[in-house]
Amino acid sequence: MHSVFRRYSSLLACVLIASSTPAVAELEHRFSGFATLGIAINDNPDLAFRRDVTQNNGAYENSAYWKNDSLIGVQWQGRWSPEWEAAVQLVAKDRFKNTLENSIEWAFLRYRPVDGLDIRAGRMGADVFMLSDYLQVGYAIPWVRPPHDYYGIASLYHFDGADINKRFLLGDATLNLKAFYGNSSEEYPLGFQSERSTSFDFDVFGSTASLEWSAWKMRYTYARVSVNSDQGRALRNALQQVTPYWPDAAGVIPQLETTGKHFDYDQFGLSYDNNTWWMHSEYVRLASNLGLIADGEHFYASLGRRFDDISVYVITGYAEPKNSVISISPPAGFPEPLASQLNLLANATERSLNGVRIKQKSYGVGTRWDFASKMAIKLQVERFDIDKTGTNLWLRTDPTTSITEDQQATLVSIALDVLF
């Protein structure tokens, strides 16, 4: 099912781009784009900063790195009639695997039989979080990047599938109900500047209710992500082989299974904007029944004020795991070399299961200056407190040593955002 979706999306993108020639009558074209040039400086020597878990490189020890936030996106929209529209969006950035197929963020056809009802098919944004639809459009968000404690886990940029959205006008309020289903895959690098990665293939379905009323916006999303790929098989096989010596190992094996397992998002968002003051906050509970995806909750809140072309803001957030640190001890009393092998295996298992923990909190201040039409410059300073058992949003600069103490990082970020 999923590979069919994937093939269909690439094909759709080709067809859409090909049909954007003047030969098609009555077709209106719109070209637009966005870009960010960003630099981040991080003072922590042991942990490298990254924007999200799909990146394998970043700033550390007072160095500056520009590839976490910098990107350029171009979009074509074609409109045949008020009913039929299509969009293709390409984003160039530093990806772990940079292929044309991965660069296609959206490629979909939209059908609007009546105003207020939209049906889309193709590749589109995974609308799981409040900013999901424009996660990469720096100009559209108040900060340098989506809040790290929360969006650092948001690696699902798009999926191949379909969605349906219905709008209801309730007096002065607007209610949108949306349902989506599709398939996605993502490559997760295994370490700092590492070329090794693990690849996950997901099916995702969910629904969103969002209500806009006056200066307020509220939303709730439920999404279930089912994992198709089989990760951790080598480790499971190894554990299986040692069960004669280590019977308890059998109990750990199911925690390392991924195929057919799923995790659920319960997301709440609340924002307010009266054109002078604004506030954004989001909370998500990620409930996972796989050991290889961290169970936990994530939150951020940000308050800002506009003074003409300048705005200033404060921001805070946290990520808190819901499962305790897993400790795996190998059985004692075996002769060498078996004892060492069991020990290595226990360590590897423990690392795999705890290596996904995220435990950190942050607070920061920032400013945005809209210095010219469709151009903004931002400066943001954040302080992160990262628990030694939950550094996974960051990359250990020395993979051979583990983090034994709680960490602090001060991150200074500057970004120039433009629309065109």
Partner: protein, 141 residues
């Protein structure tokens, strides 16, 4: 400089009537009048049809045109940068295509005269017969 232009513009176009901005549609449109909220919904991409369900196509001035900033400020209380950021959330989500942009009033009037679904805003002025006013908006800084 932009501020100064805005003020000059406001002074030039402010008259005793306080309704310096006219929202216009094609003369063939069966709509005779629109409320401010309906115009906000159309220009902020919340709806894509007139209250009578006929498709609507908002037409805009180019970003940076002083009159554009005044229109959105008067209509929604938002600065031009806020409006552009808001539209970016719709456009780059692929939910709406951005309104077509024109260089000046006369280009807008001409476009509205030719497009039955069009809706646009122009400064107060004598208008040709093939367009009609559905709302008058007092300019606000």
């Amino acid at each position: 400089m932009r501020k100064l232009l805005l003020i000059l513009f406001a002074l030039t176009f402010s008259g005793p009537l306080q309704a310096e901005i006219l929202v216009i549609v094609n003369a063939s449109n069966s709509i005779t009048t629109l409320e401010q909220k309906q115009i906000v919904d159309l220009f902020m991409g919340r709806v894509s049809a007139f209250p009578n369900k006929q498709p609507a196509q908002p037409l805009d001035l180019k970003t940076g045109t002083p009159q554009r900033a005044i229109f959105y400020k008067s209509l929604t209380g938002k600065s031009e940068a806020q409006v552009d950021a808001y539209w970016a959330t719709l456009v780059f989500a692929g939910r709406m295509s951005p309104p077509k942009q024109f260089t000046d009033d006369s280009a807008l009037i001409q476009a509205v005269a030719h497009e039955p679904a069009a809706i646009a805003y122009v400064s107060r002025q004598p208008l040709p017969k093939n367009v009609k006013v559905v709302m008058e908006l007092a300019a606000r800084q």
